[in-house]
């Protein structure tokens, strides 16, 4: 197989056994940082372990508590970091975490157009589509079209608020509690709250009656 292009210096094929270019670059950067003594391999392992140990179940606990306890909801909307700590959850390293409440008249959607800022401590690693260029560009310019593709069609009188996480603040959507869930326990409610709902691309639904 040819390398597919012509230029004036020889080199090995850029790809190695199907490893994505970004992964190869990350590996090279890690090797350099370790070599320069800026991080250790153990730091990197611990960071990855922390990241993959996080899960949207934590965010869902915040939402379910807010659904059943109006006072807690007020505290969550005022300071989501404090509210997470109150439930014994790790709000992560971001200095400010902000919860955005969906209501009858307002729907919130979160994006990071510049990279992939995301409340990882409370939601776990972001989905691949959240980091994709199409989502990052269209979530700001055609958010209703994006929501439609996710199966969410907002009424005309609902204001859609897109939040572009460009700085130190991390945003988490508090979706609306679905109708028909009055008899559910807090744990059962938390099970209805998906990662996508806390990004703002889905609306929780009541469980189908058995």
């Amino acid at each position: 197989m040819s390398d597919g292009h012509d230029h004036d210096h020889p080199h090995e094929p850029i790809t190695s056994d199907g490893e994505p270019a970004a992964a190869a670059r990350a590996r090279a950067l890690e090797a350099l940082l370790v070599e320069k003594g800026i991080v250790t391999r153990e730091d990197v392992r611990r960071g990855i372990d922390w990241l993959v140990s996080r899960s949207p179940a934590d965010g869902a606990r915040l939402v379910a508590r807010a659904w059943v306890d109006p006072d807690f909801k007020s505290r969550l909307l005022a300071d989501a970091r404090d509210a997470a700590l109150e439930l014994g959850l790790d709000p992560g390293p971001s200095p400010v975490v902000e919860a955005l409440e969906n209501t009858e008249s307002v729907h919130n959607l979160v994006v990071c157009t510049l990279c992939s800022c995301y409340p990882r401590a409370l939601l776990g690693p972001p989905p691949a589509w959240y980091k994709s260029l199409p989502y990052r560009s269209r979530a700001v310019s055609d958010p209703r079209g994006v929501l439609h593709e996710f199966g969410v069609d907002l009424d005309d009188d609902v204001e859609l608020r897109v939040h572009d996480s460009t700085a130190d603040i991390r945003y988490l959507v508090v979706p609306r509690r679905p109708a028909g869930t009055d008899s559910l326990t807090e744990d059962e409610l938390a099970a209805l709250v998906t990662r996508d709902a806390m990004i703002g691309v889905a609306q929780p639904e009541a469980p189908v009656a058995a």
């Binding site: 200095p95 608020r161 897109v162 572009d164 996480s165």
Partner: protein, 91 residues
Amino acid sequence: MTFRAGQRVRVSPRAHRGHHRTPGYIKGKVGTVERVHGTFTNPETRSYGGDGLPEEALYLVGFEQGMVWPDYDRRDRIFVDVFEHWLEEAE
């Protein structure tokens, strides 16, 4: 903090070489300060090994979508966190 909630602000249209956190689609656009987040280190120096000091005020700025995208025909809004040195008073 130069600006306060409710104030109209324009995002500077200037270009910037190197890392910065002001997305191009709001450059030159006028919005409203929704909230003052406080002060944070400046990513434009922090990203090059600097300490990001002095801290800069960071504002939550809301824009009418129709002002940002000419073809946008709903009364939706977009909110962006913008550092003070990218903002100027609008009328």
